[in-house]
Symmetry: C2
Subunit: 228 residues, 2 copies
């Protein structure tokens, strides 16, 4: 009986989250911005990717970041050094952001002038997959140091995303990771996912990633509802 | 109101887990075995550490492994190749093992002849910290590729463990990770935690880790209740 009531509780929580994610999406669409949810295990390089991307994007576009962490503002402080607007969400004991946490920030932010809103989720390859936040695109980072079998072991997050970035490719000579094999595992789960092999250290693949961001932004402008 | 009922539900789940963990511990103590819960982010090298440890331990001791994964038996199959008894728990969408999942396996296993029981948790640096399984010792692996700031960002799991292994130390020349700084961060949170820098590739620190295991086993034999 307990298990069954737990299941109902979980279903209710997930349904509430879906409703709030749809609400957040309406705000994003009304503002005409592109919202991207970045997810990965701890230490796969989400903040480094953001630093590198914002260096380029900020020249021409208005960008903002929502940072999700259990505690502290280490990553937010790194990004603020670039002059970027960053809102911190401290999740406490929670292992993922949810749409309600994001809604609170969204309601306190002037979204109208923004072009890109990046949400850096808590480092976790499991739970964030079940909690959409209203984002237009879901991007998963997999560090090559984690091993190319991870899509097989954590399928939910790879099944339900738009892009997979294999990060830290400068370390490929020292680890047992096949980009071809990892790409195949991802595409077996999710044929529409685009995969890029990148390195912040050498610059490998960064242009491809930035081009994808531009295309996604342009596409979002075509698809935006004229008004809510 | 919803948040409050969610909190009560969570409290009840955690309390139930504590009770079942205590029950598992009674079984472990009755069998006179040492149970170790291995936790880390995905890809930090839990299975590789187990392979290396079992190669040595199996010469003299009866060892068994409980493998926790969302899906599949990839890691279990790797360990079975060593001739070690492995029980798989598939957690499905759950992001951690809990004491009830472990209890089901414990009740189906002949524990009496075992000396070491290793539990490899789901790759996740957040949720497993809240769900003790009845283990005597908690060991956290942090790959040096994840960055030395992780104890600051995921404090709960580091606060409540016995050992931290900094893994993949063969990659130290290529990443920005200070073992001294990471050790300090861990010990600021948890002064009783022992830290070892290890590499399966070069063998660095493996003897220290195996010596710790032996000491923990001997100590457990002194502390075991004579009967339950």
């Amino acid at each position: 009986m307990h298990e069954s009531s737990d299941e109902h509780m979980l279903e209710r929580i997930l349904n509430n989250n879906e409703d709030l994610a749809a609400h957040n999406r309406e705000h994003f669409d009304a503002a005409g911005l592109l919202c991207i949810n970045l997810m990965s295990a701890p230490g796969a390089g989400k903040t480094s990717l953001l630093e590198r991307s914002l260096l380029d994007l900020s020249k021409h576009w208005q960008c903002s970041v929502i940072e999700g962490d259990m505690v502290g503002e280490l990553d937010a402080d790194r990004l603020r050094k670039l002059g970027v607007d960053v809102s911190q969400i401290s999740t406490g004991k929670s292992c993922h952001l949810d749409a309600q946490m994001v809604a609170r920030v969204v309601h306190s932010k002037a979204l109208d002038k923004l072009d890109y809103l990046f949400i850096e989720n808590v480092g976790n390859l499991v739970c964030p997959a079940d909690f959409p936040l209203g984002e237009h695109k879901r991007v998963v980072l997999l560090s090559v140091t984690e091993g190319d079998d991870k899509p097989l072991k954590y399928p939910v997050i790879f099944h339900n995303c738009d892009v997979v970035l294999f990060t830290k490719c400068d370390l490929l000579p020292y680890v047992n990771f096949s980009v071809a094999r990892a790409t195949q595992y991802v595409q077996d789960l999710n044929p529409r996912a685009q995969c890029f092999a990148v390195s912040i250290v050498t610059g490998q693949g960064i242009d491809d990633w930035l081009n994808w961001l531009s295309s996604a932004y342009l596409q979002s402008q075509k698809n935006m509802p004229v008004s809510i």
